[in-house]
């Protein structure tokens, strides 16, 4: 019976979208002209810890030599194809992207103002910036339980350098821009992959909207038609019944919202026609596009989405596996960008970025790699300073200045808090609210050189 509860349900025509809209307060937004003010952040979490070393490869002579020497048998290019050549237009430094990222190549651009894709180098969780000697001497605090999946997944999503986090930075950022979404009860943080800490805020409601799961209530299609009408209309009336009890009303409101949201998502305005690749991530990003397409209907003006692709914990057989996963990432992201540009026509108002547990060791272990720390991440969108490798690209020498040990688990040069804060600021979080979201960053701002946000966004 398991899958039964999540399977698609037949459309209940009785749940007319317009009638529900008027009841749930979304009508005002619906009746207004298209709001020009809209921004969305889309997080793609590469679960398991993506190997950044084989995602972005230095192609300068010295850089590639160091890479090849440290990487050994895992050094790219390999049988999966040639590297995707890119260069940072500001300094002409050459890099190669994993061949799996081929679909994103056109977004790199050809110079200033043309790129829609950038790399943020060597991002990871930090309490404070730390050097190799300080790390080895325990002289500067570091996040708890580095290299542990469960802890680092939490920390990267929470932007809190300890494993105790009840909220994520996506949810807290959404809390802070909540006023911009006033007047709509549409959830402002949405996970397309099940509940995630990333989406949880203190005040916003976070929704999980799995692709293919359409919020149809089960058991609402039966014979004869009058019996269907009886249940459907009965449910509406039960949910509208004024009990005079606040919590009862609130619980009913949630279920009414579910019916309304279901009708919305099935409506013509929620049909995305752009092509998306199949597979889990493609489906999730199509779901994101669908929800963005509803923005004028729902009236929501700031949205944060969470998608996740698993399988990056490549302790073995990494070469093909990572290539295949990054292929899904790049094809999904490229299709999503095309959709925001051509169909949604808001390419500059949607920013997509990757996040992961951590990076991986530079030195292979067999055909795979072990848990690392800092890693490179992709940022995509019309508002991104594209065509660049942002941040400090690390020295790939084993035991070198950027190595936390001997195997190339990189000490991050950029904190995930700075990375996140840059997105939050772009989304519209007021400067005065930033310390509430990124407490550790602002508590240690002098140590970060006073640099809370980075310059990779517009």
């Amino acid at each position: 019976m398991n899958q039964h509860y999540l399977s698609r349900r037949s459309l209940l025509k009785q749940l007319g979208a317009t009638a529900l809209l008027t009841r749930f307060g979304w009508m005002n937004a619906f009746s207004q002209a298209a709001p020009p003010d809209y921004k969305a952040l889309v997080c793609i979490f590469l679960a398991g810890g993506n190997d950044g070393h084989n995602t972005v490869i230095p192609l300068s002579q010295a850089g590639f030599n160091a890479y090849k020497q440290a990487r050994g048998s895992l050094a790219l290019p390999d049988s999966n194809g040639p590297l995707v050549p890119v260069q940072d237009y500001t300094n002409a430094m050459p890099f190669g992207l994993n061949p799996g990222l081929k679909a994103l190549a056109p977004l790199w651009g050809t110079g200033q103002g043309t790129g829609r894709l950038a790399v943020m180098a060597n991002v990871g969780m930090l309490v404070k910036p730390i050097t190799r000697p300080a790390y080895l001497a325990n002289a500067v605090p570091v996040p708890t339980n580095l290299f542990s999946h469960s802890d680092q997944v939490q920390q990267m999503q929470a932007a809190i350098p300890s494993s105790s986090a009840g909220t994520g930075w996506g949810g807290r950022a959404a809390d802070m821009v909540g006023a911009m979404n006033a007047g709509t009860s549409f959830p402002s943080t949405i996970s397309c992959n099940g509940p995630s800490v990333f989406c949880i805020g203190k005040t916003v409601q976070s929704a999980t909207l799995l692709p293919g799961f359409n919020l149809d209530p089960d058991g609402m299609s039966l014979w004869p038609a009058a019996a269907t009408a009886g249940r459907v209309n009965g449910l509406q009336q039960v949910l509208q019944f004024d009990s005079g009890l606040t919590l009862v009303q609130a619980a009913n409101k949630t279920r009414q919202d579910a019916l309304a949201l279901n009708a919305l998502m099935k409506g013509a305005s929620a049909t995305v026609t752009s092509p998306f690749p199949g597979g889990s991530l493609g489906d999730q990003l199509k779901q994101v596009a669908t929800l963005i397409k509803l923005r004028n209907t729902t009236g929501v003006k700031r949205q944060i989405f969470f998608c996740l692709l698993g399988g990056f914990d490549t302790h073995g057989s990494q070469s093909w596996q990572q290539w295949d996963l990054l292929r899904q990432v790049s094809e999904g992201m490229a299709a999503f960008y095309q959709c925001t540009e051509q169909e949604l026509q808001i390419p500059n108002q949607v920013t997509t970025f990757t996040l992961s547990d951590f990076g991986r060791t530079l030195q292979p272990s067999g055909s795979g790699t072990d848990h690392g720390w800092g890693s490179h991440h992709l940022v995509m969108g019309g508002a991104v300073q594209g065509g660049r490798i942002h941040g400090a690209f690390p020295d790939l020498t084993l035991g070198g200045p950027d190595d936390s040990g001997t195997r190339g688990a990189l000490i991050p040069s950029t904190s995930v808090e700075q990375y996140a804060a840059t997105f939050a600021k772009w989304l519209g979080v007021a400067d005065t609210d930033m310390p509430t979201i990124f407490q550790n960053l602002y508590a240690n701002l002098p140590a970060f050189g006073g640099q809370a946000t980075l310059n990779f966004m517009g």
Partner: protein
């Protein structure tokens, strides 16, 4: 004739002539054979012979090269007797070959044509034909079913009668001679002999029917003409003597003149178009027409405005009985159809008497009139529904439809007055508070336009059951278990609250199993099962509450052995003392792993003092972030700002005091992160310096254990402890928004008993605010996913099975059992009801998605009676499958303990009534009730 002998003789002769003797093969000239180029009818035989000037003179016979032939092409014997096949082969010219057995290159061949039997034609009938279509019969022999008759070599449509008889149809185009023969087609086709027939031109005749007729002046009569002897059967009609004698149409419809001509006998004539010299007359005798009369019925009528009335006009004395209808005075007086159906106008004309006229179309001077009196329609009032059954306390919406009045307003009334209930101007009936003497009540809608027009509905009133004892028991069960079931409701009603609590406190804890495969998933399944089945419901519910304060999660502790110590500590300390619980949890290896206290070392060693547990033990397990008053409210400083409970300095100091705890090791030897015993102290890792925590000094030199006791003293003595824990527990068990007084009363018990959890729990459950069975506007708490779903199973006297395959669904519902996403548990205790200032922690995981998923799981419970994941018992509802009020009332008892609003009952009755069968209707009422906010809230 004996062909066999002939052939033998021929062969012998040849052999003798050529001096050939047997045994010595010699070739002496060409072979020959006969007959040559012969013909064989199917099924007949032909004897072939051969000349064989060869020794030996033995031969083989072939048909088309096939030795001995075969069934399709005919067979030939070794003696040359050919047997033709019953059907000629497609290639019917065969080659018969005779070949020397001695010399294969010596042979002779000839052709043989196999034909069908010759179709003899003896005679045809008729022997002579006329130009035009004809049919002939043919007499002969050897006719076959597929035989075709040919005329001048062209196939006719042929009908096979017998081997000696055929029929054929054809067309003779011109005069002359037609030559008929019969052809049998296909392989071996054969055409027989010819028989000729002459073709001549026919004589044209015209016949008119009727030949004589009598027609009244002015009347009509139709004649028909039949032309023979030509394909062109058209005629031209005329009246002899011209128009004075009448007129006739091209179709032969004769109309007599209006005036008698000189002669009363006239002729109508049909002339052949093919030959204008051929015509025939019919004789018409003209007579004087009868007088036309018209009878109209009825002659008087009364018709309601807008209604119709049929009138009949009967014309006699003329073939034309049609009449023309009209209403005197035009449309304001109504209208009439050509069939005499009168339609009254919508508005009363003045005067209200109307004349209807019928005029003969045969004679416009003949007419009749009817007098119609128009009257307005009566005002009607219909009440819907016409009957209803309501319990005392119920309400019901009625509607009234007023017909025939512009003003459709009604006034509602209850016959017998307020003792029988009241009804609002909008038609909402509310029962009286108590059952009236007569339980059958009539409500009435009276037309405002016409006070004499009214409609009634009959209501049967039923007594309201007394649910107060049920409600009291159910609320106790909701707060002390994973939801009431029939057994617990009965038991609590029987023994009362204090006895029930005493029983629950004394029950042994449900043992926690050690899964065979160290699977945390098995523990999750066990827990869902236990929540729905355990006798020690109060302990399980309280463990569940405490587990959301002191959290360990299988998200990080992914194996059962890393969860079990925490589960056992919670179970053992649930009814104990909070100080002991904190001590045990600090030393618990599950927690040591989860919040990193295990192997925490003094500064300078390893990773140094880990602050994770130190922070959470204050923030989440004991004190919270802000100073609280005893009533749970946030204390403020002089500037009205909240006061932090602790600082980072306190966290660091507490972390140092907690250094030195490490995983125990089994006697058998070191095991990585061994979970088999509480953590042990490692003095070498402990920071022995003094620490100041929350303003209290922990002296230097204390052991790991002594430092822990000091910490417990500091925490237990902190003024936040009691209100913090009291608030958390009340929210988890009873209500999201307790009054400050309620918190204070419970906190005081916690404080007075130094953290006695049994006393604290008793205070929570026996408090007047918990025991108030009257709903308050902001009371209650939202059930979380586990309580909501476990509760429905228990309400249906069912449970989760162990094992079961449903824990993954709780992941979608943001509440995987034993696997909170973080130490902050599944939802924040400070989360608010959306768009409200009220607390509603569980609303954090009740978004549209989770609401839908919970509902879909509910439907699974109700629709999957064969599930191996859970059990439910719907049998108590079966007797009510056809009794909707009874069914709804039972669901009201089981799920809402008698609190279902009367309006909701009516909604459910209406929703379930169209259900196809009892199962569907029961499902509808249970499902919609389970989906309701009333059921979602533990009130």
């Amino acid at each position: 004739m004996n062909y066999q002998l002939i052939k033998r003789a021929a062969v012998l002769l040849a052999a003798l002539l050529l001096g050939i003797s047997a045994g010595r093969a010699q070739v002496a000239g060409a072979m020959d054979m006969w007959p040559r180029q012969s013909t064989a009818v199917t099924n007949s035989t032909v004897q072939f012979g051969a000349y064989v000037p060869i020794s030996p003179n033995t031969v083989r016979w072939y048909v088309n090269g096939i030795l001995g032939g075969n069934a399709a092409i005919g067979t030939i014997t070794t003696n040359g007797l050919y047997q033709a096949p019953p059907v000629a082969p497609a290639s019917n010219v065969l080659t018969i070959k005779v070949q020397s057995t001695a010399y294969s290159n010596s042979f002779a061949t000839t052709s043989l044509t196999v034909t069908r039997a010759y179709p003899w034609l003896w005679s045809i009938s008729p022997a002579s034909l006329q130009v035009g279509n004809y049919q002939i019969s043919l007499n002969g022999a050897n006719f076959s079913p597929d035989a075709k008759v040919q005329a001048n070599g062209l196939d006719l449509v042929t009908t096979y009668i017998s081997p000696t008889s055929l029929k054929a149809t054809g067309t003779a185009a011109i005069t002359g001679t037609l030559q008929f023969d019969v052809r049998v087609p296909g392989p071996g086709a054969t055409t027989g002999n010819v028989v000729s027939a002459s073709v001549t031109i026919p004589t044209i005749t015209v016949a008119v029917a009727p030949g004589t007729a009598t027609v009244p002046l002015g009347s009509a009569k139709t004649f028909t003409a039949t032309v023979a002897g030509t394909a062109n059967t058209a005629v031209t009609w005329s009246v002899v003597g011209g128009a004075a004698n009448g007129a006739i149409s091209t179709g032969g419809a004769y109309t007599a003149p209006a005036v008698m001509p000189a002669s009363a006998t006239v002729k109508v004539r049909a002339t052949s178009v093919a030959n204008a010299s051929v015509f025939t007359d019919a004789t018409v005798t003209l007579t004087q027409p009868p007088a036309v009369t018209l009878v109209l019925s009825p002659l008087t009528a009364t018709v309601t405005l807008g209604a119709t009335k049929a009138f009949v006009a009967t014309v006699s004395g003329n073939a034309n009985t049609a009449v023309t209808w009209s209403v005197a005075g035009g449309a304001a007086n109504g209208s009439v159809t050509a069939a005499g159906l009168y339609s009254a106008p919508a508005v009363l004309p003045n005067p209200a008497t109307v004349t209807l006229l019928a005029t003969s179309q045969a004679n416009a001077l003949v007419s009749a009139a009817a007098t119609i009196t128009l009257v307005p329609p009566p005002v009607l009032v219909a009440v819907s529904p016409a009957t209803a059954t309501l319990q005392i306390g119920g309400t019901k919406q009625f509607s009234a439809k007023v017909s025939n009045a512009a003003n459709t307003a009604v006034t509602w009334s209850v016959l017998g007055g307020a003792a029988n209930g009241t009804i609002s101007p909008a038609g909402v009936y509310i029962t009286p508070a108590t059952l009236p003497a007569a339980s059958n009540v009539t409500i009435r809608a009276t037309s405002v336009a016409d006070a004499t027009a009214m409609g009634n509905a009959a209501i049967t009133l039923l007594p309201a059951p007394d649910y107060s004892a049920l409600l009291t028991a159910a609320r106790i069960a909701e707060q002390t278990s994973f939801g009431p079931n029939d057994a617990s409701l009965a038991h609590i009603q029987q023994v009362g609250l204090s006895n029930y609590l005493a029983e629950q406190f004394s029950l042994p804890a449900s043992p926690i199993p050690v899964p065979a495969n160290n699977s945390a998933g098995a523990l999750q399944q066990w827990q869902l099962h236990t929540f729905t089945t355990a006798p020690d419901q109060l302990r399980q519910r309280f463990i569940y509450a405490l587990s959301q304060i002191i959290v360990v999660s299988a998200d990080k502790n992914i194996y059962a052995d890393a969860m079990l110590p925490w589960m056992n500590v919670m179970s053992q300390n649930a009814f104990g003392n909070y100080r002991n619980l904190l001590r045990d949890i600090t030393k618990c290896p599950s927690m040591g792993k989860y919040l990193d206290l295990a192997n925490s070392m003094k500064p300078g060693l390893g990773g140094g003092a880990n602050e994770n547990y130190a922070r959470e033990v204050m923030q989440l397990f004991s004190l919270g972030l802000w100073h609280l008053n005893m009533d749970g409210s946030v204390a403020t400083d002089a500037s009205n700002a909240p006061i932090p409970t602790y600082t980072q300095v306190d966290v660091a100091a507490l972390a140092r005091a907690l250094t030195g705890w490490a995983y125990a090791q089994p006697a058998s030897g070191p095991v990585y992160e061994w979970m088999g015993a509480p953590m042990v102290s490692v003095p070498g890792n402990h920071d022995f310096t003094a620490k100041v925590v929350l303003g209290q000094t922990i002296p230097a030199g204390q052991s790991v254990e002594a430092d822990l006791e000091s910490i417990l003293n500091i925490l237990m003595a902190h003024p936040n402890m009691a209100p913090f824990i009291a608030t958390r527990l009340i929210r988890s068990l009873v209500m999201s928004n307790p009054s400050p007084g309620y918190i204070q009363r419970v906190a005081q018990v916690f404080k007075n008993t130094d953290g006695d959890l049994k006393a604290t729990l008793t205070a929570i459950l026996t408090d007047v605010e918990a025991r108030n069975d009257t709903p308050t506007v902001n009371g209650g708490r939202l059930k979380d996913s586990i309580l909501h779903t476990c509760g429905l199973l228990r309400a249906l006297n069912g449970s989760f099975q162990n094992p079961n395959g449903l824990t993954y669904l709780y992941g979608y519902m943001a509440q995987t059992p034993l696997a909170a996403p973080s130490v902050f548990s599944w939802f924040s205790p400070l989360y608010h009801v959306p768009y409200s200032s009220l607390f509603g922690p569980e609303f954090q995981i009740y978004t549209p998605t989770e609401a839908t998923l919970r509902g879909n799981l509910f439907f699974g419970f109700l629709s999957d009676p064969t599930s191996t994941d859970f059990t439910v018992d719907l049998s108590p509802y079966q007797p009510f499958g056809n009794d909707m009020p009874g069914l709804v009332e039972l669901v009201n008892q089981k799920l809402l303990y008698g609190r279902m609003p009367a309006g909701m009952k009516q909604v459910l009755i209406d929703a379930a009534t169209p259900g196809y069968d009892a199962t569907t209707r029961i499902q509808t009422v249970l499902y919609l009730t389970a989906l309701s906010g009333q059921y979602a809230i533990q009130q």
